[in-house]
Amino acid sequence: MIMNSAQRALDQLRSTRVWKSIFRRGPARTNRTRSLAVFGNLFLHVLPVKVRDKSLRVRATYYLGSFSFFLFLLLSVTGILLMLYYHPAVPQAYRDMKDLRFVVSNGVFLRNLHRFGAEAMVIAVFWHMFHVFYRGGYKPPHQFNWVVGVGLLLITLFLSYTGYLLPWDQLAFWAITVGTNIISYVPLLGQPMRFLLLGGHQIGENALLRFYVLHVVILPLAAVMLIAIHLWRVQKDGGLTVKEDHEREK
């Protein structure tokens, strides 16, 4: 009864001019209209129209890629909310971090969600990579998508690393001291690279601001681009690598 009236309401909504102007088609009831619904949607069109039901089994992927993507979304949302209280300046950054923990309503929850989400994302991305590797997902025709995936792994690590400085506490300071000194061991380009990354010889205001810009603008933008290519290529390369049934029995 309720289902029927909900269905009627939905049908009514679909027949309105506004709905039609946005989606340009009626309900997706046939295979053709279902395909059109995917093709005609900016967000869905990177996904395949059809998937083998084998690749939807939990054991095919353990949804590790989807889980990494979900964590990326979670980190974007919590990160944007944290930005509303955080000033990337010395010494305000440390105070803002303390305020988020002890003064702002639910601040400690959001901060912890961001922090532990970030750690979970590093684990999820590595796990995803190992899983794809052991499934042979780096082999043709997936070799380019494997390279994109390695790029995404590096971006995840850089995001994690740049975010580590932002609380501006002792742990952050010394971790970035050690990390940027590792960069300076690169032959010839090491010292200039460290100077450009820190905006100086020491970790100070410039370094904090540069890490902040990298963390909230440059790296997330790069990640969004590569994620889009990564998902789209899954479809273009003929779907996920799945074990066929006869392989499973071995």
Binding site: W174, T177, V178, N181, F195, L196, G199, G200, N206
Partner: protein, 169 residues
């Protein structure tokens, strides 16, 4: 622009084009590509230059550390603001960096062990900076120490000197 066709439909070659081996279209495309290339390289150079700051608000590289009498013979004094040790031996003064040569942590003078130790990865140095143990690849850096005309000691961290060099006062 396409060349006119003869009665059989084949294109009549343009004599001028044949002689020079290029058309106006090719010429313009090449010029445009070159202009875009120059603009592209230029913007990379300009941006890279922009990324490197000209004025830094960092501690001064040379600083006065007071008269020699402030430092007793056979003493190691750590100056936290400048991150250097001022060592006075019977031979004279030297200044050495407290920054570990491994990955840049601040070391600590341990008088009871007569050595300088790094808390991060366990490097140990002798008082004059030679590596005793741990991952540090180089001895601690020694900076030039001078006496100003009015009798203060002056350390210049831009001038790196040999470990054996001491200031006799």
């Amino acid at each position: 622009m396409t060349n006119p066709k003869d009665s059989t439909g084949a294109q009549v070659p343009n004599p001028a084009e044949e002689a020079s081996g290029s058309s106006r279209r090719n010429f313009l495309s090449e010029i445009t590509a070159m202009a875009l290339g120059v603009a592209g390289i230029g913007s990379i150079v300009v941006t890279t230059r922009y990324l490197s700051p000209n004025v830094l608000f960092e501690p001064p590289t040379s600083f006065r550390i007071g008269p020699p009498d402030d430092y007793p013979v056979n003493s190691v004094t750590y100056l936290p603001d400048q991150q250097v040790y001022i060592v006075r031996t019977p031979e004279g003064f030297y200044a050495e960096s407290a920054i570990c040569t491994h990955l840049g942590c601040i070391t600590q003078w341990k008088p009871e062990l007569n050595m300088i130790a790094c808390p991060c990865h366990g490097s140990k140095f002798k008082r004059e900076g030679s590596v005793e143990a741990g991952p540090a690849p180089r001895p601690l850096t020694h900076f030039a120490v001078r006496l100003t005309p009015d009798g203060d000691l002056l350390v210049d961290t831009l001038e790196i000197v040999q470990q054996t060099q001491v200031l006799k006062v």
